[in-house]
Amino acid sequence: MRLKSDEKKCVGCLLCTVACSAKHLKTFNPEYSDCAVEDRFPEPGEYHVHHCTQCDEHPCTGSCPEEAFFEDKKLGIWRIDWAKCNGCGNCIEVCPYEGCWLSPKEKSLKCDLCDGNPECIQVCPKGVYELVKE
């Protein structure tokens, strides 16, 4: 499974980010969200939506010195074990899609698809996000 987004539909409400942090870390805080929305106004006048796309190459997994990544076979994705993550940032550097980043607690944040029912999809008013089975 993968998360796809159509950022042309985004209106910048940031509900996806607080729903994500509330789900995973029981806080309303975009800094702890696995998705991010960047607004670029007035030029070019667009929103950019960032999140892990669960890409086939997943260079992040091999870059980790702590072997913090583990495969979620049910969803067919790679996830991060925060107990092992040392915040080195290697995974962020090698990600070609700007799909992961560091939280203020120096742990890498990466989408885990909420066990197959992503919160971002549930709260987005404009249908930006979509879960695809491929």
Partner: protein, 617 residues
């Protein structure tokens, strides 16, 4: 005591001493007045000395949020600035959306209290539980967009949220607003002027602390349901999703209440050039939302051709379209967008500026204002060349025209003398919004009794009169509607929902309870609303305002509209006064519009009553 949803902390800033400190929120007041409007009013009562000079160091500029800000409650991306108004003379709170509100909560504060006056230009930077006063001498003089850019560069963080004044606020222009996230304005009643008087250029905030409540999972579930039922699927919100406020242009023109050529008419021949269809088909780039909003009513627009090609702004909203468009005889949407952007970046309130330009144009057309006094401009109705220069002239008080208009239409009419007052369409020195009361007579009472001068948000009878099925040309029994609105908005804005979330008391209570883990009902919130509204009125009475200030503009009472559905209509002064008397009676205020001891006692404001001289006799 603590209440979930609040950070529990207030930032106190003394600009004279150059010091900041952190204190706990007054929990008793949070219980009694909730937040937002209610807390702003209660703190204003305590912090602002009676009869303080609104542009002196004794005035207090405050920022307040409520318990829902920074959560997932629908349409919570809102905060307010409050102070004593330099125009209306009483309490002013000015609401603004965007993304500043949650950032302040995530930075650890419910509110900010700013006193004194800095000797040199400064800005306030709030971050994660602390704050610092920083030098703004290099930023002073800059436009709002340049200011945000400079501050973000200086702090090396492009996620910092900035609320700033422009040259208008710096120069103490009475129409100055505070620009937040570039395109969102805390406007009306000179709130930006107060900020300028303190030599405070901007407030910048960055918060990484987030916000938690003990019952996160339950709150999230209620919010997710509410985002749909109260938000997206709520039929009352449909127009805000598809069009936003510009949808009102057609409706107002049809109802004959679209301000045209300084309120000389209620219909405009070129209204189709500035309506929502034209906006959507010619300039709309995308919709934008404030934080936590599922409606996304804002239109981000860019002019695609002609002399203003490339000009981009978030807007124009209905008020700007109407007051800077038809009210100035302007039917060119592209020119309005340029005018809108100029006002936003200079830190000018588009509503007051549009009305003020309209006023100047009428005086010019009538020969009262000569070309020499108009900086050599040919101020004919709809003359784009002159029109487009007006924001700069007003914001910087350039030339004779800028000197005349910089404080708004009432002050300008006083300077001019003679008949000029007949064309100054304002209440308490604040220019009228875009709903002509001559096609919705109860609006005149709403404008008159608003504490911050002519305002359409505290009560908006146009919704049911001009746009609905209630007879707009009778005043009988109408005061009750305004009383109800004033209490409802006071409650809704104390919790701090956006106006555009069309929900009644049951949903308001549901969401307030969801965040705070309380179990209050509709009656409780009605009571809080009544309490807050009485407190605000008491503040104004303490400042010397009363029935003499709750008036309607000359034109509304005396000039009949010439065409459309409102042809032949005005708001006769005797009918207006009867409606106002009924309003006071329903509030249990005296004939001068002052809260009685009983009225204050009924809403547990006995401590406030003790401070009011007229109640001591």
């Amino acid at each position: 005591m603590t209440i979930p949803g609040y950070t529990g902390k207030v930032l106190r800033v003394d600009l004279t001493a150059g010091k900041v400190s952190v204190e706990p929120i007054n929990w008793d007041w949070a219980e009694k007045f909730i937040g937002g409007r209610g807390l702003a009013a209660r703190y204003a009562w305590a912090e602002i000395k009676p009869k303080a000079d609104p542009l002196g160091p004794d005035n207090v500029l405050m920022i307040w949020t409520g318990p829902v800000q920074g959560t997932m409650v629908p349409l919570n991306g809102r905060y307010l600035f409050a102070a004593k108004s330099p125009t209306a003379g009483g309490f002013v709170d000015s609401y603004v959306g965007g993304h500043f509100a949650p950032e302040l909560k995530w930075a650890g504060f419910d509110g900010v209290i700013i006193k004194g006056k800095s000797a040199k230009p400064v800005y306030l930077f709030i971050k994660d539980g602390n704050a610092e006063i920083r030098d703004a001498s290099k930023i002073w003089g800059k436009r709002v967009d340049e200011t945000q850019k400079a501050i973000r560069e200086e702090l090396a963080d492009d996620k910092v949220r900035v609320a700033a004044i422009g040259p208008a606020g710096e120069g103490l222009c009475k129409m100055a607003c505070i620009g937040s996230d570039l395109y969102r304005q805390a406007g009306r009643s000179g709130i930006g002027t107060v900020m300028g008087s303190k030599n405070l250029k901007a407030v910048a905030v960055r918060g990484k602390l987030g916000l938690k409540v003990p019952h996160m999972d339950k709150l999230v579930e209620i919010c997710k349901e509410s985002l749909k039922s109260d938000g997206i699927d709520n039929a009352d919100n449909a127009a805000m999703i598809t069009d936003g406020t510009p949808i009102l242009i057609d409706m107002s023109n049809d109802a004959g209440i679209l301000p045209t050529r300084n309120f000389q008419a209620g219909t405009f021949e070129g209204y189709k050039g500035v309506n929502t269809e034209t906006l959507k088909s010619t300039v709309l780039v995308r919709r934008r939302a404030c934080f936590g909003c599922v409606l996304a009513c804002a239109s981000f627009t860019r002019v695609r051709e002609g002399r203003f090609k490339g000009t981009a702004v978030e807007g124009p909203e209905y008020e700007t379209l109407a007051l800077c468009g038809p009210n100035c005889g302007v039917g060119d949407l592209n020119a309005i967008i340029k005018f809108n952007l100029e006002c936003d970046m200079l830190g000018l309130d588009t509503m007051s500026t549009g009305d003020t330009v309209a006023f100047a144009m009428e005086l010019y057309e009538r020969g009262i204002l000569k070309k020499d006094d108009a900086n050599g401009l040919d101020l004919k109705w709809g003359n784009i060349d002159a029109y487009i220069q007006m924001p700069e002239i007003i914001a910087r008080r350039k030339g004779k025209l800028g000197q005349l208009l910089g404080d708004g239409v009432t002050a300008a009419a006083k300077k001019l003398g003679g008949d000029a007052y007949k064309y100054a369409v304002a209440v308490k020195n604040v220019e009228l919004p875009a709903y002509d009361p001559r096609g919705t007579m109860t609006m005149s009472l709403a404008y008159a009794t608003s504490e911050r001068g002519a305002d359409h948000n505290r009560s908006w009878p146009a919704a049911v009169e001009a746009y609905g099925t209630v007879n707009p040309w009778t005043t009988e029994g109408k005061a009750a509607m305004v009383v109800e609105d004033h209490r409802r908005t006071a409650a809704k804005w104390s919790i701090m929902f956006c106006d555009f979330l069309s929900i009644g008391y049951p949903s308001i209570a549901k969401l307030y309870n969801a965040v705070t883990a309380k179990n209050v009902d509709e009656a409780h919130l009605r009571h809080v609303g009544e309490r807050v509204w009485n407190l605000i009125r008491a503040f104004n009475v303490r400042e010397g305002l009363d029935v003499k200030d709750d008036v309607q503009p000359y034109r509304i009472a005396n000039d009949e509209l010439p065409d459309g559905k409102t042809k032949g209509h005005k708001v006769p002064q005797n009918e207006f006064e009867a409606m106002r008397a009924e309003y006071y009676k329903l509030q249990n205020w005296d004939a001068r519009g002052r809260p009685t001891k009983e009225a204050l006692h009924a809403v547990e404001l006995d401590d406030i009553a003790k401070d009011l001289d007229y109640l001591k006799k």
